[in-house]
Amino acid sequence: MTADTDLSFATPTLLGRLAHLSAEDLDRLDFGVIGFDADTTVRQYNRTESEAAGLTPPRVLGQPLFTNVAPCLNNFLVAQRFEDAQDEASVLDDTIDYVLTLRMRPVKVKLRLLAEPGSAMRYVLVQRRI
């Protein structure tokens, strides 16, 4: 399982593998990981994301993602994609260009949106665009 810490932002079939990583393993990844459950409650929040956003995990874990953690994603480009995938019981694995407001600075990122029917966890992955 240690090989899983070599995972990259673009690794195929990433969702199933992320769910099995320990918090320590997630912290070793060089891209941001926000894992949330069927109610949008944040369950995983790794170091890369925490440092970029300037928020420690206790302020984020257990909070609803789209209202209390990342309201910038609460629109049809992101939040609705997850809702639609949930309603239609379909697989979501898409990468989009986006701008996050990390520490109130506009930061260009790529977001990978991951959801699968039957999987308890869903993910937003974050990688900076140069």
Partner: protein, 451 residues
């Protein structure tokens, strides 16, 4: 207890950051040119769906399609600091309807801090605007009913909306004598300010809602105009008796409110008028166009849409500067106002893009008037700063005639036609045709910047 001052300051910093992350309004600080320096998450939530390119570098660019006037507003703001606009409503239009949660109206407040910096506050006010509209209607209703009525005309209308009988109040307010009996109530409207289909729409609205209220210019028998408010209500027990089709079916109460016109028009202008060109703004267009198409679906008739814009506008801006470009847009606005009927809905819907909705007008009629407009624009020059700027326009025309189209589809078709007109060499008018998007090889949103 933690007495480490660094740890304490870090925790306070984190709390402050989270406070800003969670603020339920959009906050943006930009340079004077709109370059974004600091921005909070709600701003990104509201602006990202509007930014085509996945970028969010400049606030004015992000809002260019829906509020093209911002740069100019900041440019002409004379003072060193102060409020540039306070709660400006930005109408996003039907494109936003594709998403359930998408806002339709944003409110923008811009504060100039100094010569270098602006602060912006953005929020989604879709719900408030919906409530305000309801209140405005209630206001107008009370206005019509309760304010000291000094004089009013009481007009009975038959099933077709024709004046069913004359009385003294009609004579006092409108100057009409008994010869007005049998004429449709559009006789009280200026020429071309209402179509026969709209005469019927208002009666049907009154049937559905119990009343229909309208304020606007009215015509007296001698041709002079006044500002009138009219309510039409269906009468109870109004099934026509055998052989009496002209029996009154509706009651119309009409008042001369010319003394209030300035206040009403001023309020209307500030909300519905494009500052630069004097034609309607996006909000005026989408509100009126949605209403007309709703009526169209209930009572089918041809409705046409013209989308047009100035050719190579970027070159005009590059050569003569933005004030030169603005002069061309102002001239085009005058030309549009002079060309179309009063009943047509003329609005600036983008930077150099205008839309005209023509109620009860088939495609052929819209093409003819668009062609007349194109020819006039091509002949004119705009005097600016010692130069004569020539310009041409391209137009795409689509009609809703026998099909039930949404405003979004109608706009998409006119846009495809406009694209074909551009691709075909500009300075031309192009009607929409079913295989247009294939023959021109139009890729979604693939128009180049210098149109």
């Amino acid at each position: 207890m933690n007495h480490d001052p660094h740890a304490q300051s870090a925790a306070e910093h984190e709390a402050l950051i989270q406070f800003l992350y969670l603020a339920p309004v959009g906050l943006v600080q930009t340079g004077i040119d709109g370059e974004i320096q600091m921005i909070n998450p709600i701003s990104a939530q509201l602006l990202m769906p509007l930014a085509h390119d996945g970028e969010l570098a400049n606030l004015f660019d992000a809002l260019q399609d829906v509020a093209p006037e911002l740069r100019q507003l900041v440019g002409v703001f004379g003072r060193a600091s102060g409020m540039v606009c306070d709660g400006l409503h930005i109408h996003l239009g039907p494109g936003a309807l594709r998403a359930r949660r998408a806002p339709q109206v944003l409110s923008l407040t811009l504060l100039k801090l100094d010569g270098e910096r602006l602060m912006a506050v953005l929020s989604d006010v879709t719900e408030q605007v919906r409530r305000e509209r309801q209140l405005r209607q209630n206001d107008a209703w009370l206005n019509a009913l309760l304010t000291s009525i000094t004089d009013y005309a009481l007009v009975g209308l038959d099933h077709q909306g024709r004046v069913s009988a004359w009385n003294e109040t009609i004579g006092r307010v409108t100057g009409h004598d008994e010869s007005v009996v049998g004429k449709p109530y559009s006789v009280f409207h200026p020429l071309e300010a209402i179509t026969p289909e709209q005469v019927r729409d208002r009666l049907l609205d009154a049937d559905q809602n119990g009343w229909q209220l309208d304020e606007g210019a009215r015509l007296r028998a001698d041709g002079s105009q006044f500002w009138g408010s009219a309510i039409i209500s269906p009468l109870p027990d109004r099934d026509p008796l055998e052989g009496e089709p002209e029996a009154p079916a509706y009651c119309m109460v009409m008042r001369d409110i010319s003394d209030k016109r300035e206040a009403i028009e001023g309020r209307r202008k500030s909300v519905f008028c494009d500052h630069l060109t004097g034609v309607g703004n996006r909000r005026a267009f989408f509100e009126a166009a949605e209403l007309e198409l709703t009526h169209n679906r209930r009572q089918p008739r041809p409705t046409s849409l013209i989308l047009l814009d100035a050719d190579h506008f970027k070159r005009i801006n590059d050569r003569h500067g933005h004030p030169g470009g603005d002069a061309v847009l102002r001239e085009l606005g005058h030309l549009l106002s002079a060309t179309f009927r009063q009943v047509d809905i003329v609005a600036r819907v983008g930077g150099e893009e205008f839309a005209v909705l023509l109620p009860s007008c088939p495609l052929s009629g819209a093409l003819a008037v668009a062609e007349r407009l194109r020819a006039q624009a091509a002949q004119r020059t705009v005097g600016f700063d010692g130069a004569d700027i020539g310009y041409t326009i391209s137009a795409g025309v689509a009609a809703c005639d026998g099909e039930q189209l949404t405003l979004e589809t109608l706009m998409k078709r006119a846009d495809q036609a406009l694209y074909a007109a551009k691709a075909g060499g500009r300075n031309r008018v192009q009607p929409w045709m079913p295989d247009l998007h294939r023959s021109t090889g139009l890729a979604a949103g693939g128009r180049d910047a210098d149109r």
